[in-house]
Symmetry: C2
Subunit: 205 residues, 2 copies
């Protein structure tokens, strides 16, 4: 791509560093900003610099936060003995949206994935094991995505804490609400039969 | 979407102002930046602020440029009598890539589209008409997209300049290279038969 302006080329190159944004999309976005009032670009650039420079991570659960402790960890009404282990903050947001969990979270910041060069030492696992060792945790809920990497991560953590007195569980895997049975993959459908639950229990949700 | 941080919320909101970027995508992009070295965000924010604040438009053709006159308008080897009228700078880049045009451009900055509130006064049409009036232009090539708005824009400009001594043409419309005839729409296929060209001429490309 040949640009008639170094400034434009530079902006497009930086924009196209973002995941899923190619050169063409980057150009479209930059040209859009050029057509908008200058204020919009200023606000965007400021917000990005600021979030990158000033963002904090909760020292307890590693969730993104503006303070030392995030609002969830600070909330005295939440059950400190129940910890839901998630991959990243988007999972916290997704679970919070359901309003069905009143414990705390522990954000690992990724999942063990040798293919991407991510090992256990790159994740917030040590602090989780410390929490369990302290004896204040009653149950860990593994809420990783049901993929090979998610399962590996769950298993790695499980091995680290199995000698301590803590319950472990994973979120239920089965047929999703609204899904057609005939289009559900075999592994999911098979497990949903093995892991079937009493019908009365299913009426509660 | 509930955020655990105002800074994050702000960055996501600004990011999601970009066309085609929803809240979820914006969150993904911002979280990606948070995982990268701070330098990357600084470079991106700087590049955006800079391109918006310092960008110039060529005073002759309205192409984006770092100088008063863009490189194309400055180039003495290009034919000043032949002007290709395009919608925006991406079209200039696309045509330049083909290396088959050696004239100058005139970037309108959009197309007449009453539905989007864009009228002739919002486009760089006056300066184009002035160029034609000056008598230095031999031929205008309309290279707008073959849509209703593109055709309207072409026709509007044509009405403005038809009394002056200038040739006008539009880029050829027909079946695109590599396209299957049976999947080509009727209008295009019909026109490609009406506007057929001598076979010997087609061998030159």
């Amino acid at each position: 791509m040949e640009f008639s302006s170094k400034l434009l080329e530079n902006a497009v190159n930086e924009m196209s560093q973002l995941p899923g944004v190619g050169k063409r999309t980057a150009l479209r976005l930059v040209l859009h900003l050029l057509r908008q009032p200058e204020q919009q670009t200023v606000l965007l650039a400021d917000a990005l610099s600021k979030v990158r420079a000033e963002i904090k991570f909760c020292k307890s659960c590693h969730n993104i936060s503006d303070k030392e402790l995030c609002e969830i960890c600070e909330n005295p009404n939440r059950n400190e003995e129940l910890i839901c282990v998630v991959e990243d903050i988007r999972d916290v947001m997704a679970i919070e949206n359901t309003s069905s969990f009143r414990g705390l979270y522990h954000v690992l910041g990724g999942k063990i994935s040798p293919m991407d060069g991510v090992g256990p030492q790159d994740l917030n696992i040590t602090s989780l094991v410390e929490k369990v060792k302290s004896g204040k945790v009653n149950e860990l809920i593994f809420a990783m995505s049901p993929t090979m990497e998610g399962d590996t991560t769950n298993f790695y953590i499980f091995k680290q804490i199995q000698d301590y007195n803590v319950k472990t569980s994973t979120i239920a895997r089965g047929v999703a609400a609204g899904n057609e049975l005939e289009y559900t993959d075999e592994i999911t459908l098979g497990r949903s039969i093995v892991d079937r639950i009493p019908f009365e229990a299913s009426l509660k949700s």
